[in-house]
Amino acid sequence: MQFGLSESQEFLKESARKFFAGECPSAEMRRLMETETAYDAALWSKLTEQGYTGIVYAEEYDGVGLGKVELMLLMEEAGRALLPGPFFSTVVLAGSVLDAVGSPAHKKKYLAPICRGEARATVAILESSASWNLRDVQLTAANGKLTGEKLFVSDAGVADFILVVARNGVFIVDAKANGLKISPMLGMDLTRKLYVLEFKDTPAEHLGPTTNLPGALDIASAALAAELVGGMQRTLDLTVEYAKTRKQFGKPIGMFQAVQHQCADMYLETESSRSAVYYAGWALEENAPDASTAVSIAKMYSSDAARAVGNRGIQIHGGMGFTWENDLHLYYRRAKASENAFGDATFHRERIASLVIDAPGVTAKSA
């Protein structure tokens, strides 16, 4: 049994960290968040060159064929850099849904261009109920057309096509289709833009039934938790650095236990989230019987932890933490958006309850 990262996994993580630090430093991230879509074509082609846009998908669809643990590591590093734009929506979310729901022909047509870095995409799930429970989806396709509304659709403004979750299946809609209106929502996270989608007799191609959708959303949830881990690590690093250098009463504030112990808690929360995320990645990769439980544990714990780490980080930074120029609030904003996306901690606790209380014995033990 070996819970540590392999040499090649360490290498991937290390090179991703260097890549994001070089190509998407804080100034670039801030520049992009001020743009309409936070998308940058030049950055996208660099992501493609690295193989990141096809990281977990099969080589026959022009992917790189790595595993879910590797995906978690990449997303952790993307989260550390607060990578703006449609990478998560396209590669992780739309990619996973295509991979899980689509036919080989669909994958050739839609997933392969994503892997090759040629297409941007997203998935539309939520409606006015804002419920992540798929049973609450009302939108229904009729005669190959959609009429209705989707809310909180990430990165739709830069998508070439959109996967729409309806009661009777998952559908593909061209972003430029007749009868589709895409308008921005003003979300707290400036690096990942949200949109309202209004469909009126919009032509929609049937991708497949929703049967395999939950599995794809599990991958997306775990990846989002991985991003949160990266954001927590960055918040912790910035805060510890600040606590070492900022002086009050003639001493570095990190010398005071009221400050130091909060840093220790940030560390505990970050590391525990990381353990949960890596385990979830492994369980997904192995199709372990407890994979869904593991995903919910990771998403639940890191959603709460990211908020707590952000709270502490801002508090320790004092007035400086409350300024626009400090990056902490940008991570804090992302953390709140990600906390809600794919179900908040309360949602996932209920899912864990249904898995471990209502159906005991599902949780796999190592022996």
Partner: protein
């Protein structure tokens, strides 16, 4: 990353499983509730049996009667022991903490003299570290030992000594040089508890029982050959012991917690809340789910820490969060039990209405000690702050 068992791990587990199937006692349930004084001979016998099968100290090197088990194998050992609900071993401090310290720091003569009887439970060990005025600030301890010919003469007081009442020997940390800086004047002594001048008094704790003792030393003569490690190097010897303490505990707790949460889920199905089983109450479900998730995360943290140690030979930063994690989790778990049981939660063992014979009222009180014993939560946070995050020392 590969969480499947290796062939070595599987064969270790299978061998143990087979051994336990024929050797684990079947009647432990009848003894479990009895006072430790009464069940102690039973636990000694069980440890001897384990020792005969070479299972008493799997982590120890082969040459000292162990199996040189890896951390993963040790973890499997405790899992299997828990699976068959095997009793604990009588000499748990000797096996878990003091034996390894003697193997690491002791002379050949000391190893020969003490190790076999630790394994066989013929000699039970206790630990004399904390003092009334030296808790978190252990290095400030005042029990002194003065060299008189070829003996040290010990005077002072220790507190919070587990197994003091049954201890044959004690790993005692004393001050041998009061002029040196406080960490530098300490020495570890191996003290025969039957020596004249040693007095053991039970310390009654808030649960009403006496797990711990106070030890009093008045002109106790200890042969100089019983110095463990070097004279005035007792701080490092003590730290080596405490490292074993923090390392080995988590694996066992994991299994205890799993048993607790399974029982709480079972209770939630039978206890009524607002006219339906508590297991259907949204708030109770939230709390049970949070708790069972945290137990899993404790396991993940543990596995990561083990992998780190196997790879690098030193405990990684993950290890330092375990103590905080399990102790605070245990307190939350007990509070959930109280909420679930309502008025029944307060009932002590012996009351005919008590649930699980008072297990939960006891646990509620006992877990207050968890964030204090084996290094308080505050000390653990200092360790993380200073040694892991590199913040300046706060004390």
């Amino acid at each position: 990353m590969d969480l499947k068992l290796t062939p070595e791990e599987s064969s270790f587990r299978d061998e143990l499983r087979a051994w336990l199937a024929t050797n684990a006692p079947k009647d432990w349930a009848e003894w479990r509730e009895k006072p430790l004084e009464e069940s102690y001979p039973y636990l000694r016998a069980w440890q001897r049996k384990l020792h005969d099968g070479r299972w008493a100290a799997v982590s120890w090197p082969q040459e000292y009667g162990g199996r040189s088990a890896t951390l993963m194998q040790q973890s499997l050992f405790w899992e299997e022991m828990a699976r068959v609900e095997a009793p604990p071993m009588a000499n748990s401090l000797g096996l878990g903490l003091i034996g390894p310290t003697i193997i690491a720091c002791g002379t050949e003569a000391q190893k020969k003299r003490f190790i076999p009887k630790i394994l066989s439970a013929e000699e039970i060990w206790c630990q004399g570290f904390s003092e009334p005025n030296a808790g978190s600030d252990l290095a400030g301890l005042q029990t002194e030992a003065k060299l008189d010919g070829d003996h040290y003469v010990v005077n002072g007081q220790k507190v919070w000594t587990s197994y003091g009442w049954v201890g044959d020997w004690c790993e005692l940390i004393v001050r041998t040089d009061s002029s040196a800086a406080k960490h530098k004047g300490l020495t570890a002594l191996l003290v025969d508890m039957k020596s004249p001048g040693v007095e053991v008094r039970p310390l009654r704790q808030m649960t009403g029982e006496s797990e711990f003792n106070e030890l009093f030393f008045q002109d106790v003569r200890v042969p100089a050959e019983n110095v463990l490690g070097k004279v005035n190097d007792g701080w490092n010897v003590a730290m080596s012991t405490l490292m074993y303490e923090r390392g080995s505990y988590g694996a066992r707790l994991q299994l205890t917690f799993n048993r607790y949460i399974s029982r709480l889920i079972e209770l939630a199905r039978s206890v009524q809340r607002n006219g339906r089983p508590a297991s259907e109450d949204p708030l109770i479900r939230q709390k049970l789910a949070q708790c069972s998730a945290e137990i899993e995360i404790m396991r993940f943290n543990q596995m990561r820490a083990f992998s780190r140690i196997s790879a690098t030979g030193v405990p990684g930063p993950e290890g330092s969060i375990q103590k905080i994690f399990w102790s605070e989790l245990n307190q939350r778990l007990q509070q959930i039990a109280q909420e679930l049981l309502g008025s029944y939660g307060q009932l002590l063992g012996g009351d005919p209405h008590a649930v699980d014979n008072g297990l939960w009222s006891y646990g509620y009180l006992r877990t207050r000690g968890n964030t204090i014993e084996a290094g308080t939560s505050e000390v653990q946070r200092n360790i993380i702050g200073h040694f892991v995050l590199g913040l300046p020392r706060s004390y």
